[in-house]
Symmetry: C2
Subunit: 134 residues, 2 copies
DNA sequence: ATGCAATTGCAAATCATTTGCATTAAGAAT
DNA sequence: ATTCTTAATGCAAATGATTTGCAATTGCAT
């Protein structure tokens, strides 16, 4: 409820474990997902929540709302690209550049809207999954 | 947790009031927003929740996740178009057709993905709000 | 080593949403 | 109009993700 500038982050065992889990994961994770991995190291669920929120505030991770309405976190790597998501295998590939740049320019001209952002996930079925079933 | 086909809906005073409120609103509303309007008519909050979920199951209203993570509901009018949302005044205008059709075709060809869907909300500032503040 | 601020664990609080249950009301069949 | 079946309602309590208060611990700069 307070988006001020980053606060110094202390390095602790728990936080390093949390980051490691996130680093090894290909996909965004909920706090509970992460907790399942780190709890046996004695890390508390509150700590997971607090750590991830702290990471997010510092731009280390990205927080998004998952489909089941839980927050999902993922490491911020470089600049985010547009992503192509396979609805079968959940593989994600990144698209270089913005495929909608031209289209948005057109929309802006037609409507007078100053366009600031747009959603960037495109859902489909990847070539492998197209072969597999049916 | 069960997306079966629509069940018969009974017409009641409460539901009519709820629909009326939604009809008069330009913007999506949370259950609580709606409840504030209908509670003086003796409609219970649970009723609002249940009615809206029933409406959604019947395709009467659309349920989305608002920015504060609460569900917001809006009447389904015609077929949904792509929508341009002003982040200042929250005005929404609909775009005829799909502005990304061509771009998606290109992506599909380049990646082999069969593209099924994509996000459709574009965020920006409308001409009026651009004039207003700075 | 010392001290202050950040971090943690734990339990309890929050808040939106759902649900169990007994009661009421809608609407079809009689 | 009366009866009957089933959905809809009100109320309170349950749920589930997330946050928070507080006391104890730890990181780290001095």
């Amino acid at each position: 409820m307070n988006n001020s500038e980053p606060i110094e982050l202390k390095k602790t065992k728990g936080r390093e474990k949390i980051l490691l889990v996130l680093k090894k994961s290909q996909y965004p994770m909920t706090c509970d997902d992460i907790y399942k991995e780190v709890s046996r190291s004695g890390v508390n669920l509150s700590t997971v929540y607090r750590a991830l929120n702290a990471f997010e505030k510092n731009g280390l991770v990205k927080k998004e709302i998952g489909e089941d309405k839980k927050n999902v976190f993922s490491l911020v790597t470089e600049d985010d690209h547009h992503v192509l998501v396979c609805i079968k295998c959940h593989r994600r590939i990144e698209l270089p550049g913005c495929p909608y740049h031209d289209a948005n320019a057109k929309i802006s001209k037609a409507t007078g809207y100053q366009i600031l952002d747009h959603n960037t996930e495109i859902y489909g079925i990847c070539p492998e999954c197209q072969k597999k079933n049916k």
